[in-house]
Assembly symmetry: D2
Homo-oligomer: 334 residues x 4
Amino acid sequence: MIAVLKQNTSKEQRENLIAWFRSMGLQVHISEGDYHTILGLIGDTTKVDIGLLESLSIIDSVKRISEPFKNANRKFHTEDSVIDVGGLKIGGGNFQIIAGPCSVENHDQILEVAERVKAGGATILRGGAFKPRTSPYDFQGLKATGIELLLEAKKVTGMPLISEIMNIRDLDLFEGVDIIQVGARNMQNFDLLKELGKTDKTILIKRGLANNLKELLMSTEYIMAGGNENVILCERGIRTFETYTRNTLDLSAVPMLHELSHLPVVVDPSHATGISKLVEPMAMAAAAAGADGLMIEVHNNPEKALCDGAQSLTPDQFDVLARKVRRIREAIAE
Amino acid sequence: MIAVLKQNTSKEQRENLIAWFRSMGLQVHISEGDYHTILGLIGDTTKVDIGLLESLSIIDSVKRISEPFKNANRKFHTEDSVIDVGGLKIGGGNFQIIAGPCSVENHDQILEVAERVKAGGATILRGGAFKPRTSPYDFQGLKATGIELLLEAKKVTGMPLISEIMNIRDLDLFEGVDIIQVGARNMQNFDLLKELGKTDKTILIKRGLANNLKELLMSTEYIMAGGNENVILCERGIRTFETYTRNTLDLSAVPMLHELSHLPVVVDPSHATGISKLVEPMAMAAAAAGADGLMIEVHNNPEKALCDGAQSLTPDQFDVLARKVRRIREAIAE
Amino acid sequence: MIAVLKQNTSKEQRENLIAWFRSMGLQVHISEGDYHTILGLIGDTTKVDIGLLESLSIIDSVKRISEPFKNANRKFHTEDSVIDVGGLKIGGGNFQIIAGPCSVENHDQILEVAERVKAGGATILRGGAFKPRTSPYDFQGLKATGIELLLEAKKVTGMPLISEIMNIRDLDLFEGVDIIQVGARNMQNFDLLKELGKTDKTILIKRGLANNLKELLMSTEYIMAGGNENVILCERGIRTFETYTRNTLDLSAVPMLHELSHLPVVVDPSHATGISKLVEPMAMAAAAAGADGLMIEVHNNPEKALCDGAQSLTPDQFDVLARKVRRIREAIAE
Amino acid sequence: MIAVLKQNTSKEQRENLIAWFRSMGLQVHISEGDYHTILGLIGDTTKVDIGLLESLSIIDSVKRISEPFKNANRKFHTEDSVIDVGGLKIGGGNFQIIAGPCSVENHDQILEVAERVKAGGATILRGGAFKPRTSPYDFQGLKATGIELLLEAKKVTGMPLISEIMNIRDLDLFEGVDIIQVGARNMQNFDLLKELGKTDKTILIKRGLANNLKELLMSTEYIMAGGNENVILCERGIRTFETYTRNTLDLSAVPMLHELSHLPVVVDPSHATGISKLVEPMAMAAAAAGADGLMIEVHNNPEKALCDGAQSLTPDQFDVLARKVRRIREAIAE
């Protein structure tokens, strides 16, 4: 860690500060310039509160050299983590396609979609029972009933499940759910993360719309510091000024997260783009960028009678996507 | 609401869609062009799920004309809301300054800061007991003890309190707290909002770092739809590419929110800028833009021995700020 | 085009406005609601000045249904454009790799890099002679001498050239350059675009750091409206809050631009990410997303003696990238 | 300047690098840690090419301590610069209001608006003759004729003029124009900036939509390094995800630029917000934040017959704004 002191620092202030650093077990190296003095802090700086440091009047700026996350850090765990999901593996070369409807709507819908995506090549079933919606007037999910329908689809198809949690008091309902999803809007709901850190469930955590990769890894740290190391990261688009797409899918996050962390990285092109035509090319791009998995919204539309397609992929479109993604996977494996 | 149909829509599809709109009690006006057909939907469209509509294959795009929020909407409630806070009023010309430390640290600190900011002109005391921190290794707040210390400061100074809630299970602790703050990271923690909507506490809701004003008002709607109309909005900076300041304070949100909504709007220049030197000018600017209140971090620094200032304002700096803000308030009142 | 009128519009105002629209040859369809009146404008609205329209006091908002760009619009030119570059083709299934150093530095450097990237599979040589640098104190390029060195490399290797123009008065120097690049910082230098529209040179236009796809296509329109239809679009990252990467590469721009326009789309992962390790995975992802070409920075580093690598790819790293990209191309062609 | 070396650096590489820094006249202080070695570089680092440095394979990251701009830097020029504009002063406590139409449209319009804004309290007349428009089909300005009309208005009213240049070849036309404006889209048109640096005209440079304050000051450096020190900075909103306002006015830029630089800072709330109702509160906020001037769009609308208002302020609205801004100025002067 580097601390740059302001120009007008008195000798006494400086010595007090250095003594304080040393009391935390850090070595301090000093470089003096005409306008600034630079302190190089050597040792375990993970637990230094950078906010407190920056608030001191004699500090100009602080820069971390080591990343502040430990458990998720590739530096201290060079091998890829391989996470077990109901017998399937993800990470370290193991690739899985998660597919299913945005919301569980009824028995026939979830069963039909589950059978179809399984046939197409999906290995994990997704389905929302608790839905975070911008408007209180929009459909909020089937809740407990939705989870029950998912469990039925799991029983019939044998596919492991993923579903989103919004409130820790619903945790018991997720007993049969294989991966608990923390949505983008809850990525910094630290109380929820802490509670999930006490469980042994696999957690898929989505990057928030305004969160950088460091913050994603620090939120992961909340889970892992609690003892739960079964974490999967998910890139699902960030908020930018571009309006043609719902969000901007940041695919460079895939190799960057692999560089920073040993955890598997999954990409959700459906929520990122919000446009069905873009899902297939972005799924292929994600696979080519080295993602460990995909999360694809597939929908057997109840409005089918009304209009013959949707923003989600139809099962037929999913079949094509899965085939093309397999070809990309083969191409990068050669 | 306007729905634009795609070019290749069949007559049958169109008629099905129009029948569906009519079944929801909407009138439908049709404009046909060479490349597109436009449907004007007239009636109560607040509860139309725009996501579902956009997902239909025959829809090119959808545009709301009426805003999707009702309870907070200025159109249906033209008078400014005036919120009562422990006998004080905020909104509709009533201006309050909230001040206090970021975190409650100990008895002497909170008492001393409270006395000082009260003397300087603050009318409401802030202090964090539950602290959302990016890192699990940073100080997480004194929790219940922090609330107790705040209550003591309230008893001594008579100032109403504001403090942040992070988990609804802590609600009972907030009984003596006059305003419950929902922080930026929880602005779309919809379960928390719903629960707060069932209480009769005054809620101050901060705009999320990546949230636009419509989303802030929709989150407000979660609270108000539950029956709790005591809501104060707070602008505290959004996330942009600029790195000199911690966030970018969007002061145009103040008059824009006043245009869209009847609720009071408070500005927090401390968290927005992250730089103590910018707090005073931004506080003055916020007052000049018509804010109904300010939220200022003031800190009687325990590191005082070590270094004589901080990122938060000192009580002396707060005195100057409060005096200058009063002059701005007088200037705009004339 | 849709114009939404404000609530308090008088009958006379409305009739004046409608008469004005009709005088422009537009048909006007009217939908009246309780709070708003919606006008559907049918006809050639490309040349309606939306800024003027929005400025009228009786207008609440305006929404274009047809895109305001004509020449680049897929709707009016459904076939992919195939651009000829010194005998090579790009677009419509033809894929080219552009490679070379960021700046031309000297004779040996450009010749060596050119030979190496040609051997590795690059088909077009890039090299900067005029360099837009944030600081006036940084190296500004070899200018005319740089172009001469590029022409020599072209003569030796037979590779067509691309180089960036910053000032129209340098146009004569670009006679032997096959593609003139308009950089991100000049994407809205409309005077430069107009002048380039009068030439018959192939123009590669890079998306600006804060520009959405519509603005990119409108800038393209400046060139094409002048009669020059040889335009290649280039995605090179946009500016966001993420700081790990220099910019955020928006790969969804590739399929989205293909949907909106018939022009070829090239991706520059080197400038987008600013990190050599990310260039290969992002190049592969771009190819998988359907890009018509890549632009890769390759550098035979003069600091080689000093340190054995660089942010640009080495020729060896480029060989690997080109081989992997070919495999992706085969996988998506099957 | 601080350079952090990567972990796996050889002793030889490190010594080569240090020798290279010393050859540039810099002192090098070394701090060694377990995972990183930190070099503190002391001396004149302004002309070190940070891009080159970051590209070296042994460098992990580089951080400037001193700002890379010299001429505009408050550190080397602690007094506020006061710029003379046709006998008026701006900066160092001198406040000016620039007002006028977005585009010069005809003789009567510009004369009438000029007289009216002068009467209301404006001291400098703005008017666009060369207009950067997103679409080539939108009105591009009256060009030379527009400048002539402005000069006539100057003659009649005695007000100094400001107008935007888009192409250096038009420079001669600006002889009688007192301030040449560089628009947001040309903020990094470095060739234009260099040429303006050779003149002795006062230049007002607007912040680009995606540019941070450092880049604005570096662009200023292009002008000042050429010998022209008459530069005024202008904040006019940046591009963010918020869509209610056209851009997001970053008023914290005002005190921040004053901290970093001695140059005057003007705010343009009209272009920033794009909404006439927000112009007055944002103008007041800018004055309260310490801006040295305002730039306000005032329009004697030719569409008046058609509709009685506009997005620009009417002269009457401007009168009110100017009066309120004067009160704010008095309040902050006390």
